[in-house]
């Protein structure tokens, strides 16, 4: 199968025509996104090129330590990014960091332990990147929801605390809804995969000339791994983050301005 394809920078540049089209639509319909579209195109070019060279280096060095270093950077960066979307949650960074770390370690550990992939950079780097990226989105959505839920339901939470409930008991319905909203997007898209959209890995493998059955199997493995990592990261992040809304005496903290 391993037919690989080679693309020139000229071909990449040609695809910018579609970015120009997107910017033109934004300008024409005044959605005020032209700037963001250009920034997104430039950032994606720089970031992917850099990571491309980094991955090339890591593959050539073929050592697990460089892989771990790269995954650590991804986890830290992911936690920072997710934190910016969870502004109403006090001290969101650590719950996110711990959630992403546990999600990445468990997911990668399991796929290696179950003999699905070899513990080599060629597998761990791309799979780790996907796992961390999806876990980041899920836990950001979950904490964003948690922040909204808590700030809208302060009276209900305090009424439950006033009965002598623990912080955990008072927050439980809101933590559950936050966890659900963090996980449900991927669950729904997994349900419709192949019908409404073709996921990226499968598309990539098909373009690279792989057998469709191989492309499908790899895609399934990744989808299942992602479901696990998304659930773990959202569970850990919400399970740790709700505590930051409360004092040790089970008082709901005043919202941070």
């Amino acid at each position: 199968m391993s037919t690989s394809i080679h693309l020139s920078l000229g071909q990449v540049a040609a695809s910018l025509a579609l970015v120009a089209l997107a910017a033109a639509i934004s300008f024409w319909r005044r959605t005020d996104l032209e700037r963001d579209i250009v920034v997104a195109a430039v950032r994606s070019f720089i970031q992917l090129t850099a990571i491309g060279y980094a991955i090339k280096l890591i593959f050539e060095a073929d050592t697990i330590w460089l892989v771990l270093a790269l995954l650590t950077v991804m986890v830290v960066f992911g936690a920072f990014t997710a934190r910016s979307r969870a502004k109403k949650v006090p001290g969101a960074f650590w719950p996110l960091l711990i959630g992403l770390t546990i999600a990445a370690a468990t997911t990668l550990g399991l796929v290696v332990a179950l003999g699905i992939f070899d513990p080599t950079p060629r597998y761990l780097v791309p799979v780790g990147g996907m796992v961390i990226g999806n876990a980041m989105t899920a836990s950001a959505v979950a904490l964003n929801r948690l922040g909204d839920e808590v700030s809208e339901s302060r009276a209900a939470i305090e009424a439950t605390l006033a009965l002598g409930a623990t912080a955990r008991e008072a927050a439980e319905p809101f933590v559950r809804r936050a966890l659900r909203s963090g996980t449900i997007t991927l669950v729904d898209s997994t349900k419709t995969t192949g019908l409404i959209f073709f996921p990226g890995t499968m598309v990539g493998m098909l373009l690279a000339g792989a057998e469709p059955t191989d492309a499908v199997r790899l895609q399934l493995i990744l989808l299942y791994a992602l479901l696990g990592s998304v659930a773990i990261s959202a569970l850990v992040a919400t399970g740790l983050a709700y505590r930051n809304f409360f004092t040790p005496a089970a008082q709901l903290r005043e919202p941070t301005p």
Partner: protein
């Protein structure tokens, strides 16, 4: 002495909500009276440690408030908030939850009766209660914990005068039937006179008078 407040202050943002409050609350029924924004509800929330003052001390039955386990304290000193906030479900499920937290045997019909609700309200979904019924269900829920002190935040502010009189009658009957102290926050001096043995008058976060309702509200 039930509660003893010494030099209690609290700031929210730029605003000094409570300013060096000294007050004594004896067993029985005490009204905390003042116009809106005087700091009444804030003061009430301090008494079961839903929040803490920035400075000053509060004692409950002679012991510093923060020496009690906050969860146990809140089951003993039960706050009925101003805005009805029942948990989704039936009236009975709310009572059962409260009784379970307090580790108390639940007599639903008795709690409902004491709060002035007929026994058939037990099965009623809380989303189908009127505001007055919600207020009574909150009261029944607090009673399910068999507290020693009830903190009531404007218990009749959302009600018409008929429903208000009924709630006041319920509160007077509760005091006669149970060994229960009441701390009632109200903006209405008349209500304080009808319900309370003692009153503390607040204005702009300061305790400006206290004593019998006649003395404090003169």
């Amino acid at each position: 002495m039930l509660f003893e407040l010494r030099d209690v202050s609290l700031t929210r943002g730029e605003r000094r909500v409570l300013d060096s409050i000294d007050a004594e609350i004896e067993p029985g029924a005490t009204a905390i009276v003042g116009p809106s924004g005087a700091g009444k509800s804030t003061l009430l929330r301090l008494l079961n440690r839903l929040s803490d003052p920035e400075s000053g001390t509060i004692a409950y039955r002679g012991r510093p408030l923060d020496s009690y386990d906050p969860l146990a304290l809140r089951r003993e000193v039960s706050l009925v908030p101003q805005l009805p906030a029942l948990l989704p479900g039936t009236v009975e499920s709310n009572l059962a939850y409260a009784a379970k937290l307090a580790g108390k045997q639940l007599d639903t019909a008795e709690c409902l009766r004491r709060a002035g609700l007929a026994a058939e309200f037990a099965e009623r979904d809380v989303s189908r209660l009127s505001v007055g019924e919600q207020q009574r269900a909150m009261l029944a829920r607090a009673l399910a914990q068999q507290p020693g002190v009830l903190l009531l935040d404007e218990p009749t502010s959302a009600l018409d005068s008929e429903a208000r009189d009924a709630i006041e009658a319920t509160l007077r009957r509760l005091r006669a039937e149970l060994d229960l102290s009441l701390v009632v926050v109200t903006h209405d001096p008349e209500q304080a006179r009808r319900l309370a043995d003692r009153a503390v008058r607040l204005r702009d976060g300061r305790a400006v008078a206290s004593g019998t309702p006649a003395e404090a509200l003169a």
